[in-house]
């Protein structure tokens, strides 16, 4: 994918002016209300969040051991494990596996890691046709877009856009068919995809969890597409990253209890599918080869550092559902694979703060993301940490730096500060008192372009206080 995070401001402006997008965002999917109700229904929800956090912390602290244990179990179950340090390596591994069976079509369940490594483009360049089978992913694939949300990739689209795309792409179907209802769209997608499932040579899925105790990979879905993707083709490839490791199935059960509730407000996702190795002799179905590609892509260097807690993330999307910025501009404006608050912390770690500087800056630090994060990642604190890195490396904009310098010069000298602010408030009061506010103010265009600025009441509090008390 092309990183457009450096153009975040332009992206955001375009998003705010995009009527279709704004219509889709204003409708939303009701995740906020549903999560709230789900959390209220479960008295131990807060305790489960603590448990989930602790499981992830423990695993990350002993990641080397759990990776080794996991590898041994995968191999024992007849699976093959591949480690990839970079996105390039991961792509090459996947294409090699596909080539060995002369694969022409690959079906894909939902995986953000494939987005992260730009897998679809690479497969196409190598003559392999990837077919997304998650409805949202399928929609954005036929539109040549990227996901705008990590669990609801097409949340930026309206029904009428989907209808238009289906008529454009499914040109073999009758022109006069009725596609007015969501159900008819769904049925059509199901019909089109069913043929693809059956003809695919390789199925690629992500993983929500990798279980060290059993060598199992686990996906949770609501559409069942993941199951067809991984059972029907000859080869199943699991794409995952190192932080998906979890020690035991018992731990998974704790994480599952917070995952769906945080994501969609469901008690459980509709399908929770466990895969351990390829098809065994007495299995009724399943792939004959089972591969797991574990990608690092910069994550191991986050371990033990200031951003390690980000590796707890279980990709529920609650932080973006609750984020006022995300809800105003949608996910594409972030210009990276991972949008919203979790992306604002993770993206700079993956691509560099020099390119992704806007993302951790475009936050009010309102704290709603941290409040709902199922594994209690201190997202605002880590966004601030990125701002500190930026400031230390002199990457923050010159206007911000000189403004801060000017302001802190006075703030560090309270007496001088008192004089200057007294003068400023006096002046603003003189010019502003008759109207009570300013419609325009020099050096405050960012404020007054959109709202009035109140005139001060006259002398500062401190000036009045000293006059009264002396």
């Amino acid at each position: 994918m092309t990183l457009t995070s450096p153009q975040f401001k332009d992206n955001a402006r375009a998003a705010l002016a995009d009527a279709q997008l704004q219509r889709a965002l204003s409708k939303g999917l009701g995740f906020v209300e549903r999560r709230r109700l789900a959390a209220e229904r479960l008295p131990e929800f807060e305790a489960l969040r603590d448990g989930a956090r602790d499981i992830k912390n423990h695993t990350l602290a002993h990641l080397d051991l759990y990776l080794e244990a996991y590898e041994a179990r995968v191999i024992a179950a007849g699976g093959q494990l591949h480690f990839a340090v970079t996105a390039e390596e991961a792509r090459a591994i996947v294409v090699d596996i596909c080539r060995k069976v002369c694969a022409k079509t690959v079906t894909k369940g939902k995986t953000m890691i494939a987005e992260e490594i730009g897998l679809n483009d690479f497969l196409e360049q190598n003559g392999i046709q990837p077919v997304e089978t998650d409805l949202g992913e399928y929609l954005i694939q036929i539109r040549h877009e990227m996901p705008s949300h990590i669990i609801a990739p097409a949340i930026h689209l309206n029904k009428d856009q989907v209808e238009a795309d289906f008529r454009r792409v499914h040109s073999h179907l009758p022109k006069d068919r009725n596609l007015a209802e969501p159900q008819t769209l769904l049925t059509e997608a199901r019909g089109v995809l069913r043929e693809r499932f059956l003809s695919a040579d390789v199925g690629i899925t992500g993983a929500n969890f990798l279980v060290a105790e059993t060598g199992t990979s686990i996906i949770v879905t609501n559409e069942g597409n993941g199951d067809l993707t991984q059972t029907l083709p000859k080869i199943h490839i699991v794409l995952a990253t190192i932080e998906k490791l979890v020690p035991t199935l018992e731990d998974v059960s704790t994480l599952l209890r917070v995952l769906a509730r945080s994501a969609t407000g469901q008690d459980m996702s509709v399908y929770t599918t466990l895969s351990t190795g390829p098809r065994r002799p007495d299995d009724p179905d399943g792939p004959s080869e089972y591969h797991v590609v574990i990608l690092d892509n910069g994550r191991s260097s986050m371990l033990g550092g200031g951003f390690a807690e980000m590796l707890r993330c279980i990709r529920c999307g609650a932080c973006m559902n609750y984020c006022p910025v995300f809800n105003a501009i949608g996910g594409h404006a972030y210009g990276s694979v991972y949008p919203g608050p979790m992306g604002a912390v993770l993206t700079p770690a993956l691509v560099g703060i020099d390119k992704a500087g806007h993302l951790p800056n475009a936050s009010m630090f309102c704290g709603r993301c941290e409040e709902v994060c199922p594994v209690r990642i201190p997202l605002p604190r880590m966004m601030r940490a990125w701002r500190e890195r930026e400031f230390e490396r002199h990457l923050s904009p010159a206007t911000v730096r000189s403004g801060l310098k000017f302001w802190s010069f006075f703030a560090k000298r309270p007496a001088l500060y008192g004089l200057v602010t007294a003068l400023a408030s006096r002046l603003l009061w003189l010019f502003g008192r008759s109207a009570g506010r300013f419609r325009r103010l020099p050096f405050a265009g960012g404020w007054t372009r959109h709202r009035d600025f109140p005139a001060p009441q006259g002398a500062t509090f401190q000036a009045q206080w000293r006059r009264r008390r002396n």
Partner: protein
């Protein structure tokens, strides 16, 4: 009730000092009526703008300045959840690992309170005698809500104000889009967020919007006024102190009678 003579240092905040001193005097009245001795030593800023811009060195210098100025008081009271949160939550974080300053910052943080929280949680006040005619709605500032645990306190005090009816604001826990320097660094996004908030405020039908943070209040008031919505906007302390008779935020001073 607190023993009379509790010495309270008022951290007045930059915005109140510069834009709306009336909030500071309302806070002083509330505290003095409750039997506290209030002092407002010479002060500038808590350092939050530097802290949130990644300038940790300046943030630390300003935090040291505030601690040194205010640590002699029994309590430090702030008419803002945002500046209060900076002291209470982020000062200890700023000095993390510093054997000299961290304990000082932690002790200081523990005696720093947002105004309505201090009145109710520390002084045990449940009712204040004041009048305010009309319906008001209340916006929870993010820092008050999520850093200072302030939600019930202002509502409890407002419930006792004679003549005042409180109409709850839908999505009161959603940020107004101010976010300190955010609103000028990303003005278009901030505008989208505050526009939604202003419409939600207007839709309650309340004639007055109250909150405990001047930053949010200036932001929402400025948007309401730009949209031509007739909602008066005040800091909650003005109403609690019975000092809500002057012009509201952004409203003109009454024309003086000809001499």
């Amino acid at each position: 009730m607190a023993q009379p003579g509790k010495r309270v240092g008022l951290l007045v905040t930059c915005l109140v000092d510069l834009i709306r001193p009336a909030v500071g005097f309302a806070a002083v009245k509330l505290l003095e009526d409750a039997g506290c001795t209030v002092e407002a030593p010479r002060q500038s800023c808590c350092g939050q703008p530097a802290f949130n811009s990644g300038d940790r060195a300046s943030a630390r210098a300003l935090a040291e300045q505030v601690i040194a100025t205010f640590e002699c008081y029994d309590y430090v009271v702030v008419p803002s959840g945002s500046c209060g949160g900076q002291v209470r939550v982020h000062y200890p974080e700023l000095f993390h690992g510093d054997p000299n300053w961290h304990p000082r910052a932690a002790r200081f943080a523990a005696k720093t309170y947002e105004l309505t929280s201090f009145l109710t949680d520390v002084l045990g006040i449940n009712k204040i005698n004041a009048r305010y005619a009309g319906t008001a709605t209340y916006h929870d500032s993010c820092s008050s809500l999520r850093e200072m645990g302030v939600r019930a306190q202002p509502r409890r005090l407002l419930a006792g104000i004679e003549g005042l009816t409180l109409a709850e604001l839908p999505d009161a826990d959603v940020c107004c889009g101010f976010g300190g320097t955010f609103c000028v660094k990303y003005p278009d996004i901030s505008n989208a967020i505050v526009s939604k908030k202003a419409e939600a405020v207007a839709a309650t039908g309340a004639g007055t919007l109250l909150a405990g943070d001047l930053g949010c209040l200036m932001n929402i008031a400025g948007k309401l006024q730009r949209l031509g919505r007739r909602v008066t906007v005040r800091h909650v302390a003005e109403v609690l102190a019975g000092m809500a008779d002057g012009p509201a935020i952004g409203e003109p001073e009454p024309k003086r009678a000809a001499p």
